[in-house]
Amino acid sequence: MIRIALLLLAFFALTGARDPILVPEVSQHEVKVRQGFTGTELLLFGAILDPAGTRAARGYDVVVVLKGPSEPIRLREKSKIGGMWLNAASTDFRSAPSFFAVAASRPVKDIVDERTAAIYEFGTDFIQLSPTGEIDPAEQARFTSGLVDLKRRQGLYEEDMHGVKISGQVLYQARIALPSNVQTGTYTAETFAVTNGRVVASAIAEVEVKKVGFERFVEVFAQRQAFFYGLLAVSLSIAMGWMAGRLFALI
Protein backbone atom coordinates (compact mmCIF):
# COMPACT_ATOMS: atom_id res chain seq x y z
CA MET A 1 0.00 0.00 0.00
CA ILE A 2 2.68 2.42 1.06
CA ARG A 3 4.75 1.33 -1.89
CA ILE A 4 1.94 2.14 -4.27
CA ALA A 5 1.44 5.49 -2.67
CA LEU A 6 5.11 6.24 -2.97
CA LEU A 7 5.05 5.15 -6.58
CA LEU A 8 2.14 7.43 -7.31
CA LEU A 9 3.87 10.29 -5.54
CA ALA A 10 6.99 9.69 -7.56
CA PHE A 11 4.91 9.56 -10.72
CA PHE A 12 3.34 12.91 -10.06
CA ALA A 13 6.60 14.40 -8.87
CA LEU A 14 8.50 13.30 -11.95
CA THR A 15 6.05 13.39 -14.82
CA GLY A 16 3.33 15.66 -13.62
CA ALA A 17 5.62 18.44 -12.66
CA ARG A 18 4.92 20.54 -15.76
CA ASP A 19 1.34 19.64 -16.41
CA PRO A 20 -1.46 21.26 -14.49
CA ILE A 21 -4.27 19.40 -12.79
CA LEU A 22 -7.87 19.99 -13.80
CA VAL A 23 -10.56 19.82 -11.18
CA PRO A 24 -13.89 19.84 -13.07
CA GLU A 25 -17.37 20.07 -11.71
CA VAL A 26 -20.86 20.22 -13.22
CA SER A 27 -23.70 22.21 -11.72
CA GLN A 28 -26.00 19.19 -11.85
CA HIS A 29 -25.04 15.59 -12.29
CA GLU A 30 -28.59 14.61 -12.91
CA VAL A 31 -31.01 16.38 -15.22
CA LYS A 32 -34.55 15.33 -14.46
CA VAL A 33 -36.93 15.48 -17.39
CA ARG A 34 -40.38 15.88 -15.95
CA GLN A 35 -43.58 17.74 -16.75
CA GLY A 36 -42.86 21.33 -17.67
CA PHE A 37 -39.25 20.59 -18.69
CA THR A 38 -38.24 23.23 -21.20
CA GLY A 39 -34.56 22.53 -21.29
CA THR A 40 -31.92 23.50 -18.80
CA GLU A 41 -28.56 25.16 -18.58
CA LEU A 42 -25.55 23.21 -17.43
CA LEU A 43 -22.76 25.10 -15.72
CA LEU A 44 -19.44 23.38 -16.23
CA PHE A 45 -16.85 24.89 -13.97
CA GLY A 46 -13.66 24.04 -12.12
CA ALA A 47 -10.10 25.00 -11.46
CA ILE A 48 -6.76 24.54 -13.20
CA LEU A 49 -4.09 23.97 -10.58
CA ASP A 50 -0.37 23.77 -10.73
CA PRO A 51 0.83 20.50 -9.27
CA ALA A 52 2.73 22.51 -6.70
CA GLY A 53 -0.51 23.97 -5.51
CA THR A 54 0.29 27.53 -6.42
CA ARG A 55 -1.91 29.31 -8.90
CA ALA A 56 -1.20 28.51 -12.49
CA ALA A 57 0.96 31.26 -13.83
CA ARG A 58 1.01 30.43 -17.49
CA GLY A 59 -1.84 31.27 -19.80
CA TYR A 60 -4.13 28.35 -20.33
CA ASP A 61 -7.00 27.97 -22.69
CA VAL A 62 -9.89 25.78 -21.72
CA VAL A 63 -12.12 23.82 -24.09
CA VAL A 64 -15.23 22.03 -22.87
CA VAL A 65 -16.94 19.30 -24.90
CA LEU A 66 -20.34 18.02 -23.82
CA LYS A 67 -21.55 14.94 -25.65
CA GLY A 68 -24.84 13.08 -25.47
CA PRO A 69 -25.27 9.35 -26.00
CA SER A 70 -24.29 8.25 -29.51
CA GLU A 71 -26.48 6.23 -31.79
CA PRO A 72 -26.15 4.66 -35.20
CA ILE A 73 -28.15 6.64 -37.76
CA ARG A 74 -28.90 6.71 -41.44
CA LEU A 75 -28.79 10.12 -43.04
CA ARG A 76 -30.82 10.56 -46.20
CA GLU A 77 -30.39 13.29 -48.73
CA LYS A 78 -33.13 14.59 -50.99
CA SER A 79 -32.38 15.37 -54.60
CA LYS A 80 -34.61 16.54 -57.40
CA ILE A 81 -35.54 13.56 -59.54
CA GLY A 82 -37.99 14.09 -62.37
CA GLY A 83 -39.21 17.38 -60.91
CA MET A 84 -39.76 15.95 -57.44
CA TRP A 85 -37.65 16.06 -54.32
CA LEU A 86 -37.00 12.45 -53.35
CA ASN A 87 -34.71 10.79 -50.87
CA ALA A 88 -31.87 9.61 -53.05
CA ALA A 89 -28.40 9.16 -51.58
CA SER A 90 -27.92 8.00 -48.02
CA THR A 91 -25.07 7.25 -45.70
CA ASP A 92 -24.74 5.54 -42.35
CA PHE A 93 -22.98 6.85 -39.29
CA ARG A 94 -22.21 4.41 -36.55
CA SER A 95 -21.83 6.93 -33.76
CA ALA A 96 -23.68 10.18 -34.20
CA PRO A 97 -23.93 11.93 -30.84
CA SER A 98 -27.50 12.92 -30.03
CA PHE A 99 -26.12 16.09 -28.50
CA PHE A 100 -22.81 17.86 -29.01
CA ALA A 101 -21.65 21.17 -27.63
CA VAL A 102 -18.24 22.79 -27.60
CA ALA A 103 -17.28 25.86 -25.65
CA ALA A 104 -13.83 27.40 -25.69
CA SER A 105 -12.14 30.37 -24.12
CA ARG A 106 -10.86 31.53 -27.52
CA PRO A 107 -11.67 30.38 -31.08
CA VAL A 108 -10.30 26.86 -31.36
CA LYS A 109 -8.34 27.66 -34.51
CA ASP A 110 -6.27 30.15 -32.48
CA ILE A 111 -5.61 27.60 -29.74
CA VAL A 112 -4.64 24.41 -31.52
CA ASP A 113 -3.87 23.23 -35.03
CA GLU A 114 -6.50 21.43 -37.06
CA ARG A 115 -5.05 17.98 -36.41
CA THR A 116 -5.26 18.36 -32.64
CA ALA A 117 -8.72 19.85 -32.95
CA ALA A 118 -9.81 16.81 -34.97
CA ILE A 119 -8.34 14.36 -32.44
CA TYR A 120 -10.12 15.97 -29.49
CA GLU A 121 -13.30 16.89 -31.42
CA PHE A 122 -12.92 20.61 -30.74
CA GLY A 123 -15.84 21.77 -32.86
CA THR A 124 -18.86 20.57 -34.75
CA ASP A 125 -16.70 20.14 -37.86
CA PHE A 126 -14.63 17.54 -36.07
CA ILE A 127 -17.27 15.24 -34.63
CA GLN A 128 -16.18 11.64 -35.07
CA LEU A 129 -19.27 10.16 -36.67
CA SER A 130 -17.67 6.86 -37.80
CA PRO A 131 -19.17 6.68 -41.28
CA THR A 132 -19.58 3.20 -42.68
CA GLY A 133 -19.57 1.85 -46.18
CA GLU A 134 -17.53 3.18 -49.06
CA ILE A 135 -16.13 6.56 -48.28
CA ASP A 136 -15.75 9.29 -50.82
CA PRO A 137 -14.25 12.21 -48.89
CA ALA A 138 -16.12 14.93 -50.77
CA GLU A 139 -19.46 13.19 -50.41
CA GLN A 140 -18.76 12.40 -46.78
CA ALA A 141 -18.01 16.04 -46.07
CA ARG A 142 -21.28 17.06 -47.71
CA PHE A 143 -23.26 14.60 -45.60
CA THR A 144 -21.46 15.60 -42.43
CA SER A 145 -22.11 19.28 -42.93
CA GLY A 146 -25.74 18.50 -43.75
CA LEU A 147 -26.14 16.60 -40.50
CA VAL A 148 -24.39 19.27 -38.46
CA ASP A 149 -26.54 21.99 -40.01
CA LEU A 150 -29.73 20.04 -39.31
CA LYS A 151 -28.79 19.31 -35.71
CA ARG A 152 -27.62 22.85 -35.12
CA ARG A 153 -31.01 24.22 -36.16
CA GLN A 154 -32.63 21.77 -33.77
CA GLY A 155 -30.40 23.19 -31.04
CA LEU A 156 -28.66 19.86 -30.55
CA TYR A 157 -25.21 20.76 -31.88
CA GLU A 158 -23.66 23.95 -30.56
CA GLU A 159 -20.38 25.76 -30.78
CA ASP A 160 -19.47 28.73 -28.64
CA MET A 161 -15.97 29.94 -29.21
CA HIS A 162 -16.12 32.44 -26.38
CA GLY A 163 -18.23 30.33 -24.04
CA VAL A 164 -15.55 29.60 -21.45
CA LYS A 165 -14.67 32.34 -19.00
CA ILE A 166 -11.37 32.02 -17.19
CA SER A 167 -10.84 34.14 -14.13
CA GLY A 168 -7.49 34.68 -12.46
CA GLN A 169 -5.94 31.91 -14.58
CA VAL A 170 -7.37 29.44 -12.08
CA LEU A 171 -11.11 29.21 -12.33
CA TYR A 172 -13.03 28.53 -15.48
CA GLN A 173 -16.71 28.27 -16.19
CA ALA A 174 -18.86 27.50 -19.21
CA ARG A 175 -22.62 27.51 -19.66
CA ILE A 176 -24.17 25.06 -22.08
CA ALA A 177 -27.88 25.06 -22.83
CA LEU A 178 -29.68 21.74 -23.12
CA PRO A 179 -32.89 22.18 -25.15
CA SER A 180 -36.07 20.28 -24.27
CA ASN A 181 -35.66 17.86 -27.17
CA VAL A 182 -32.51 16.25 -25.77
CA GLN A 183 -32.34 12.50 -25.59
CA THR A 184 -32.08 10.77 -22.25
CA GLY A 185 -28.92 8.94 -21.29
CA THR A 186 -25.45 9.55 -19.97
CA TYR A 187 -23.77 12.72 -21.13
CA THR A 188 -20.04 13.22 -20.78
CA ALA A 189 -18.50 16.60 -20.15
CA GLU A 190 -14.83 16.65 -21.05
CA THR A 191 -12.67 19.57 -20.07
CA PHE A 192 -9.31 20.20 -21.71
CA ALA A 193 -6.59 22.61 -20.68
CA VAL A 194 -4.54 23.73 -23.66
CA THR A 195 -1.33 25.63 -23.79
CA ASN A 196 1.07 26.27 -26.68
CA GLY A 197 -1.13 24.27 -28.99
CA ARG A 198 -0.92 21.19 -26.81
CA VAL A 199 -3.56 19.57 -24.64
CA VAL A 200 -1.86 19.36 -21.27
CA ALA A 201 -4.66 18.14 -19.05
CA SER A 202 -8.11 16.70 -19.40
CA ALA A 203 -10.84 15.50 -17.10
CA ILE A 204 -14.27 13.96 -17.50
CA ALA A 205 -17.47 14.50 -15.61
CA GLU A 206 -20.74 12.73 -16.27
CA VAL A 207 -24.27 14.05 -16.40
CA GLU A 208 -27.25 11.75 -16.32
CA VAL A 209 -30.33 12.96 -18.23
CA LYS A 210 -33.39 10.93 -17.36
CA LYS A 211 -37.13 11.06 -17.37
CA VAL A 212 -38.73 10.85 -13.96
CA GLY A 213 -42.22 10.54 -12.56
CA PHE A 214 -45.16 10.65 -14.94
CA GLU A 215 -43.00 11.12 -18.05
CA ARG A 216 -40.98 8.03 -17.27
CA PHE A 217 -44.15 6.13 -16.48
CA VAL A 218 -45.71 7.01 -19.84
CA GLU A 219 -42.58 6.07 -21.76
CA VAL A 220 -42.16 2.73 -20.01
CA PHE A 221 -45.87 2.00 -20.28
CA ALA A 222 -45.86 2.69 -24.04
CA GLN A 223 -42.83 0.44 -24.54
CA ARG A 224 -43.64 -2.50 -22.30
CA GLN A 225 -47.44 -2.64 -22.24
CA ALA A 226 -48.12 -1.49 -25.78
CA PHE A 227 -51.53 -3.15 -25.95
CA PHE A 228 -52.88 -1.66 -22.74
CA TYR A 229 -51.31 1.68 -23.57
CA GLY A 230 -53.23 1.67 -26.85
CA LEU A 231 -56.43 0.72 -25.07
CA LEU A 232 -55.89 3.55 -22.60
CA ALA A 233 -55.39 6.03 -25.46
CA VAL A 234 -58.55 4.83 -27.19
CA SER A 235 -60.67 4.92 -24.03
CA LEU A 236 -59.32 8.34 -23.13
CA SER A 237 -60.40 9.73 -26.49
CA ILE A 238 -63.83 8.11 -26.33
CA ALA A 239 -64.40 9.29 -22.76
CA MET A 240 -63.39 12.85 -23.60
CA GLY A 241 -65.52 12.95 -26.72
CA TRP A 242 -68.52 11.58 -24.88
CA MET A 243 -68.08 13.91 -21.92
CA ALA A 244 -67.82 16.95 -24.16
CA GLY A 245 -71.02 15.87 -25.89
CA ARG A 246 -72.85 15.60 -22.58
CA LEU A 247 -71.44 18.86 -21.21
CA PHE A 248 -72.39 20.89 -24.25
CA ALA A 249 -75.84 19.33 -24.31
CA LEU A 250 -76.42 20.90 -20.89
CA ILE A 251 -75.48 24.39 -22.01
Binding site: W85, D149, R216, A222, A233, V234, S237, W242, A244
Partner: protein, 304 residues
Protein backbone atom coordinates in the same frame (compact mmCIF):
# COMPACT_ATOMS: atom_id res chain seq x y z
CA UNK B 1 -47.90 27.03 -20.68
CA UNK B 2 -45.07 24.62 -21.37
CA UNK B 3 -45.89 20.97 -21.58
CA UNK B 4 -43.36 18.21 -22.03
CA UNK B 5 -44.42 15.42 -24.38
CA UNK B 6 -42.92 12.17 -23.10
CA UNK B 7 -43.08 10.18 -26.35
CA UNK B 8 -42.34 12.99 -28.79
CA UNK B 9 -39.45 13.98 -26.51
CA UNK B 10 -39.87 17.68 -26.63
CA UNK B 11 -41.55 20.53 -24.87
CA UNK B 12 -44.35 22.44 -26.57
CA UNK B 13 -46.66 25.29 -25.74
CA UNK B 14 -49.74 23.46 -24.46
CA UNK B 15 -52.04 26.33 -25.37
CA UNK B 16 -50.97 26.21 -29.02
CA UNK B 17 -51.73 22.49 -29.16
CA UNK B 18 -55.15 22.95 -27.53
CA UNK B 19 -55.95 25.75 -30.01
CA UNK B 20 -54.81 23.55 -32.88
CA UNK B 21 -57.12 20.83 -31.58
CA UNK B 22 -59.95 23.35 -31.30
CA UNK B 23 -59.41 24.50 -34.88
CA UNK B 24 -59.66 20.97 -36.23
CA UNK B 25 -62.57 20.32 -33.88
CA UNK B 26 -64.50 23.27 -35.30
CA UNK B 27 -63.79 21.96 -38.78
CA UNK B 28 -65.04 18.52 -37.85
CA UNK B 29 -68.20 19.93 -36.32
CA UNK B 30 -68.80 22.16 -39.32
CA UNK B 31 -68.06 19.71 -42.10
CA UNK B 32 -68.24 16.23 -40.61
CA UNK B 33 -64.61 15.50 -41.37
CA UNK B 34 -62.15 14.40 -38.71
CA UNK B 35 -59.68 17.20 -39.25
CA UNK B 36 -56.70 14.87 -39.08
CA UNK B 37 -55.60 16.11 -42.49
CA UNK B 38 -54.99 19.47 -40.82
CA UNK B 39 -53.59 18.27 -37.48
CA UNK B 40 -50.84 16.02 -38.80
CA UNK B 41 -49.09 18.54 -41.09
CA UNK B 42 -49.43 21.35 -38.56
CA UNK B 43 -47.94 19.20 -35.78
CA UNK B 44 -45.03 18.23 -38.02
CA UNK B 45 -44.57 21.89 -38.87
CA UNK B 46 -44.46 22.61 -35.11
CA UNK B 47 -41.56 20.17 -34.70
CA UNK B 48 -43.31 17.00 -33.55
CA UNK B 49 -41.75 13.90 -35.16
CA UNK B 50 -43.94 12.81 -38.13
CA UNK B 51 -44.76 9.34 -36.80
CA UNK B 52 -45.80 10.70 -33.41
CA UNK B 53 -47.89 13.37 -35.14
CA UNK B 54 -49.74 10.83 -37.29
CA UNK B 55 -50.29 8.39 -34.42
CA UNK B 56 -51.54 10.98 -31.95
CA UNK B 57 -53.72 12.68 -34.55
CA UNK B 58 -55.59 9.44 -35.13
CA UNK B 59 -56.28 9.24 -31.38
CA UNK B 60 -57.63 12.77 -31.52
CA UNK B 61 -59.94 12.00 -34.44
CA UNK B 62 -61.52 9.16 -32.42
CA UNK B 63 -62.53 11.62 -29.73
CA UNK B 64 -63.80 14.19 -32.18
CA UNK B 65 -66.04 11.67 -33.94
CA UNK B 66 -67.63 10.17 -30.79
CA UNK B 67 -69.94 13.08 -30.08
CA UNK B 68 -70.74 13.37 -33.78
CA UNK B 69 -71.80 9.73 -33.98
CA UNK B 70 -73.95 10.12 -30.86
CA UNK B 71 -75.67 13.19 -32.29
CA UNK B 72 -76.35 11.53 -35.66
CA UNK B 73 -77.48 8.33 -33.97
CA UNK B 74 -80.22 10.19 -32.12
CA UNK B 75 -81.84 11.17 -35.38
CA UNK B 76 -81.25 7.85 -37.10
CA UNK B 77 -78.50 9.11 -39.35
CA UNK B 78 -76.23 6.09 -39.10
CA UNK B 79 -76.52 3.06 -41.38
CA UNK B 80 -74.94 0.49 -39.07
CA UNK B 81 -75.00 -2.27 -41.66
CA UNK B 82 -73.14 -0.15 -44.18
CA UNK B 83 -70.86 1.07 -41.38
CA UNK B 84 -70.01 -2.48 -40.35
CA UNK B 85 -69.02 -3.36 -43.92
CA UNK B 86 -66.81 -0.30 -44.36
CA UNK B 87 -65.27 -0.91 -40.92
CA UNK B 88 -64.44 -4.50 -41.86
CA UNK B 89 -62.79 -3.09 -44.97
CA UNK B 90 -61.06 -0.48 -42.84
CA UNK B 91 -59.53 -3.14 -40.58
CA UNK B 92 -58.10 -4.97 -43.61
CA UNK B 93 -56.97 -1.64 -45.03
CA UNK B 94 -55.15 -0.47 -41.91
CA UNK B 95 -53.35 -3.82 -41.77
CA UNK B 96 -52.21 -3.36 -45.36
CA UNK B 97 -51.43 0.26 -44.55
CA UNK B 98 -49.16 -0.76 -41.68
CA UNK B 99 -47.24 -3.11 -43.99
CA UNK B 100 -46.96 -0.43 -46.67
CA UNK B 101 -45.81 2.07 -44.05
CA UNK B 102 -43.02 -0.25 -42.97
CA UNK B 103 -42.05 -0.99 -46.57
CA UNK B 104 -41.82 2.65 -47.61
CA UNK B 105 -39.99 3.44 -44.39
CA UNK B 106 -37.39 0.77 -45.13
CA UNK B 107 -36.68 2.18 -48.60
CA UNK B 108 -36.68 5.69 -47.17
CA UNK B 109 -39.56 7.12 -49.19
CA UNK B 110 -42.32 7.28 -46.59
CA UNK B 111 -42.34 11.08 -46.38
CA UNK B 112 -42.48 11.37 -50.17
CA UNK B 113 -45.38 8.90 -50.31
CA UNK B 114 -47.25 10.82 -47.62
CA UNK B 115 -46.68 14.14 -49.42
CA UNK B 116 -47.81 12.73 -52.77
CA UNK B 117 -50.92 11.23 -51.18
CA UNK B 118 -51.76 14.55 -49.57
CA UNK B 119 -51.28 16.49 -52.79
CA UNK B 120 -53.30 14.07 -54.93
CA UNK B 121 -56.14 13.37 -52.50
CA UNK B 122 -56.55 16.88 -51.13
CA UNK B 123 -56.04 18.46 -54.53
CA UNK B 124 -58.68 16.33 -56.21
CA UNK B 125 -61.25 16.58 -53.45
CA UNK B 126 -60.65 20.28 -52.90
CA UNK B 127 -61.15 21.01 -56.59
CA UNK B 128 -64.31 18.93 -56.81
CA UNK B 129 -65.82 20.52 -53.73
CA UNK B 130 -64.88 24.04 -54.73
CA UNK B 131 -66.42 23.64 -58.18
CA UNK B 132 -69.61 22.16 -56.84
CA UNK B 133 -70.02 24.71 -54.04
CA UNK B 134 -69.17 27.64 -56.32
CA UNK B 135 -71.68 26.43 -58.89
CA UNK B 136 -74.45 26.18 -56.30
CA UNK B 137 -73.66 29.58 -54.86
CA UNK B 138 -73.71 31.23 -58.31
CA UNK B 139 -76.95 29.52 -59.19
CA UNK B 140 -78.43 30.72 -55.91
CA UNK B 141 -77.47 34.30 -56.65
CA UNK B 142 -79.10 34.16 -60.07
CA UNK B 143 -82.20 32.95 -58.35
CA UNK B 144 -82.51 29.66 -60.19
CA UNK B 145 -82.89 26.46 -58.22
CA UNK B 146 -80.31 23.90 -59.20
CA UNK B 147 -81.71 20.66 -60.51
CA UNK B 148 -81.74 18.01 -57.84
CA UNK B 149 -78.86 15.72 -58.70
CA UNK B 150 -79.97 12.25 -59.63
CA UNK B 151 -78.72 9.86 -57.00
CA UNK B 152 -77.00 6.96 -58.69
CA UNK B 153 -74.15 4.75 -57.89
CA UNK B 154 -71.18 4.35 -60.13
CA UNK B 155 -71.60 1.72 -62.93
CA UNK B 156 -68.59 -0.19 -61.59
CA UNK B 157 -70.43 -0.71 -58.30
CA UNK B 158 -73.29 -2.39 -60.13
CA UNK B 159 -70.88 -4.76 -61.84
CA UNK B 160 -69.74 -6.35 -58.57
CA UNK B 161 -71.20 -9.76 -57.71
CA UNK B 162 -73.67 -10.49 -54.90
CA UNK B 163 -76.12 -7.93 -53.54
CA UNK B 164 -77.14 -6.88 -50.03
CA UNK B 165 -79.90 -4.58 -48.98
CA UNK B 166 -78.81 -1.46 -47.07
CA UNK B 167 -82.17 -0.08 -45.95
CA UNK B 168 -81.11 3.18 -44.36
CA UNK B 169 -78.84 4.05 -47.25
CA UNK B 170 -81.58 3.12 -49.70
CA UNK B 171 -79.28 0.80 -51.61
CA UNK B 172 -79.28 -2.71 -53.00
CA UNK B 173 -75.65 -3.25 -53.96
CA UNK B 174 -72.79 -5.68 -53.60
CA UNK B 175 -71.15 -5.41 -50.15
CA UNK B 176 -67.81 -5.64 -51.94
CA UNK B 177 -68.10 -2.01 -53.03
CA UNK B 178 -68.21 -0.50 -49.50
CA UNK B 179 -65.71 -3.13 -48.35
CA UNK B 180 -63.14 -2.05 -50.94
CA UNK B 181 -63.92 1.60 -50.26
CA UNK B 182 -63.41 1.02 -46.53
CA UNK B 183 -60.13 -0.77 -47.17
CA UNK B 184 -58.82 2.07 -49.32
CA UNK B 185 -59.73 4.60 -46.65
CA UNK B 186 -58.11 2.35 -44.02
CA UNK B 187 -54.84 2.28 -45.95
CA UNK B 188 -54.85 6.05 -46.26
CA UNK B 189 -55.72 6.43 -42.58
CA UNK B 190 -52.69 4.42 -41.58
CA UNK B 191 -50.35 6.15 -44.02
CA UNK B 192 -51.52 9.74 -43.66
CA UNK B 193 -52.70 9.76 -40.06
CA UNK B 194 -56.12 11.05 -41.08
CA UNK B 195 -59.60 9.78 -40.39
CA UNK B 196 -60.47 9.70 -44.06
CA UNK B 197 -63.79 11.50 -43.69
CA UNK B 198 -62.91 13.97 -46.39
CA UNK B 199 -62.60 11.01 -48.80
CA UNK B 200 -65.34 8.80 -47.43
CA UNK B 201 -68.09 11.42 -47.55
CA UNK B 202 -67.74 12.23 -51.27
CA UNK B 203 -67.15 8.56 -52.11
CA UNK B 204 -70.33 7.49 -50.30
CA UNK B 205 -72.28 10.22 -52.04
CA UNK B 206 -70.95 9.98 -55.56
CA UNK B 207 -69.63 6.41 -55.90
CA UNK B 208 -72.00 4.39 -53.71
CA UNK B 209 -74.87 6.80 -54.11
CA UNK B 210 -76.00 6.62 -50.49
CA UNK B 211 -78.86 8.85 -49.40
CA UNK B 212 -77.47 12.13 -48.12
CA UNK B 213 -79.13 11.91 -44.71
CA UNK B 214 -77.01 9.01 -43.52
CA UNK B 215 -73.71 9.83 -45.22
CA UNK B 216 -72.12 12.02 -42.54
CA UNK B 217 -73.29 9.84 -39.63
CA UNK B 218 -72.16 6.59 -41.25
CA UNK B 219 -68.85 8.13 -42.28
CA UNK B 220 -68.24 9.32 -38.70
CA UNK B 221 -69.17 5.86 -37.40
CA UNK B 222 -66.61 4.33 -39.74
CA UNK B 223 -63.96 6.88 -38.80
CA UNK B 224 -64.57 6.24 -35.11
CA UNK B 225 -63.74 2.56 -35.41
CA UNK B 226 -60.99 2.83 -37.98
CA UNK B 227 -59.10 5.44 -35.96
CA UNK B 228 -59.48 3.25 -32.87
CA UNK B 229 -57.85 0.39 -34.76
CA UNK B 230 -55.20 2.74 -36.15
CA UNK B 231 -54.35 3.97 -32.67
CA UNK B 232 -53.96 0.38 -31.50
CA UNK B 233 -51.82 -0.46 -34.53
CA UNK B 234 -49.57 2.51 -33.84
CA UNK B 235 -49.37 1.66 -30.15
CA UNK B 236 -48.33 -1.89 -30.99
CA UNK B 237 -45.97 -1.28 -33.92
CA UNK B 238 -44.54 2.24 -33.98
CA UNK B 239 -45.12 2.93 -30.25
CA UNK B 240 -45.56 6.54 -31.26
CA UNK B 241 -48.87 7.45 -29.59
CA UNK B 242 -48.15 10.34 -27.25
CA UNK B 243 -50.80 10.31 -24.56
CA UNK B 244 -50.07 13.85 -23.39
CA UNK B 245 -50.16 15.24 -26.93
CA UNK B 246 -53.37 13.34 -27.68
CA UNK B 247 -55.01 14.58 -24.47
CA UNK B 248 -54.18 18.21 -25.32
CA UNK B 249 -55.47 17.83 -28.87
CA UNK B 250 -58.61 16.14 -27.58
CA UNK B 251 -59.26 18.87 -25.06
CA UNK B 252 -59.38 21.38 -27.89
CA UNK B 253 -61.09 19.27 -30.51
CA UNK B 254 -63.98 17.88 -28.47
CA UNK B 255 -65.01 21.37 -27.42
CA UNK B 256 -64.26 22.74 -30.87
CA UNK B 257 -66.48 20.08 -32.44
CA UNK B 258 -69.43 21.25 -30.37
CA UNK B 259 -68.84 24.88 -31.31
CA UNK B 260 -68.54 23.83 -34.94
CA UNK B 261 -71.85 21.99 -34.83
CA UNK B 262 -73.57 25.11 -33.49
CA UNK B 263 -71.93 27.29 -36.12
CA UNK B 264 -72.95 24.91 -38.89
CA UNK B 265 -76.59 25.74 -38.30
CA UNK B 266 -76.08 29.45 -38.91
CA UNK B 267 -74.05 29.46 -42.12
CA UNK B 268 -75.08 28.44 -45.63
CA UNK B 269 -73.86 24.90 -46.32
CA UNK B 270 -72.51 25.83 -49.77
CA UNK B 271 -70.47 28.61 -48.18
CA UNK B 272 -69.09 26.08 -45.67
CA UNK B 273 -68.13 23.67 -48.41
CA UNK B 274 -66.41 26.43 -50.33
CA UNK B 275 -64.39 27.43 -47.24
CA UNK B 276 -63.44 23.80 -46.57
CA UNK B 277 -62.43 23.40 -50.21
CA UNK B 278 -60.16 26.44 -49.97
CA UNK B 279 -58.52 25.12 -46.77
CA UNK B 280 -58.01 21.71 -48.35
CA UNK B 281 -56.52 23.21 -51.50
CA UNK B 282 -54.17 25.44 -49.51
CA UNK B 283 -52.77 22.42 -47.66
CA UNK B 284 -52.39 20.53 -50.93
CA UNK B 285 -50.49 23.48 -52.43
CA UNK B 286 -48.24 23.74 -49.39
CA UNK B 287 -47.38 20.05 -49.73
CA UNK B 288 -46.84 20.42 -53.48
CA UNK B 289 -44.41 23.26 -52.78
CA UNK B 290 -42.38 20.99 -50.50
CA UNK B 291 -42.45 18.22 -53.06
CA UNK B 292 -41.65 20.15 -56.20
CA UNK B 293 -40.02 23.45 -55.34
CA UNK B 294 -38.14 23.32 -52.08
CA UNK B 295 -38.33 20.64 -49.40
CA UNK B 296 -38.37 21.71 -45.75
CA UNK B 297 -35.22 19.73 -45.10
CA UNK B 298 -32.73 18.26 -47.54
CA UNK B 299 -31.36 15.88 -44.93
CA UNK B 300 -33.35 13.56 -42.70
CA UNK B 301 -32.15 11.30 -39.94
CA UNK B 302 -33.47 7.83 -39.17
CA UNK B 303 -32.11 5.77 -36.30
CA UNK B 304 -30.76 2.39 -37.33
Amino acid sequence: MDVYLPIANLSVNGLVIVLLGALTGVLSGLFGVGGGFLTTPLLIFYGVPPTVAAASASTQVTGASVSGVLAHNRRGGVDYRMGAVTIAGGMIGSGIGALLFRFFQSIGQIDTVISILYVVMLGAIGTLMAREAWGTLRADKKGERPRAAKRRHHPLVAALPGRWRFYRSGLYISPLAPLILGALVGILTMLMGVGGGFMLVPAMLYILGMSAGVVVGTSLFNILFVTMVTTMMHALTTKAVDLVLAALLLLGSVSGAQIGTQMAQKVKPEMLRLILAVIVLLIALRMLWGLGVRPDEIYTVTPL
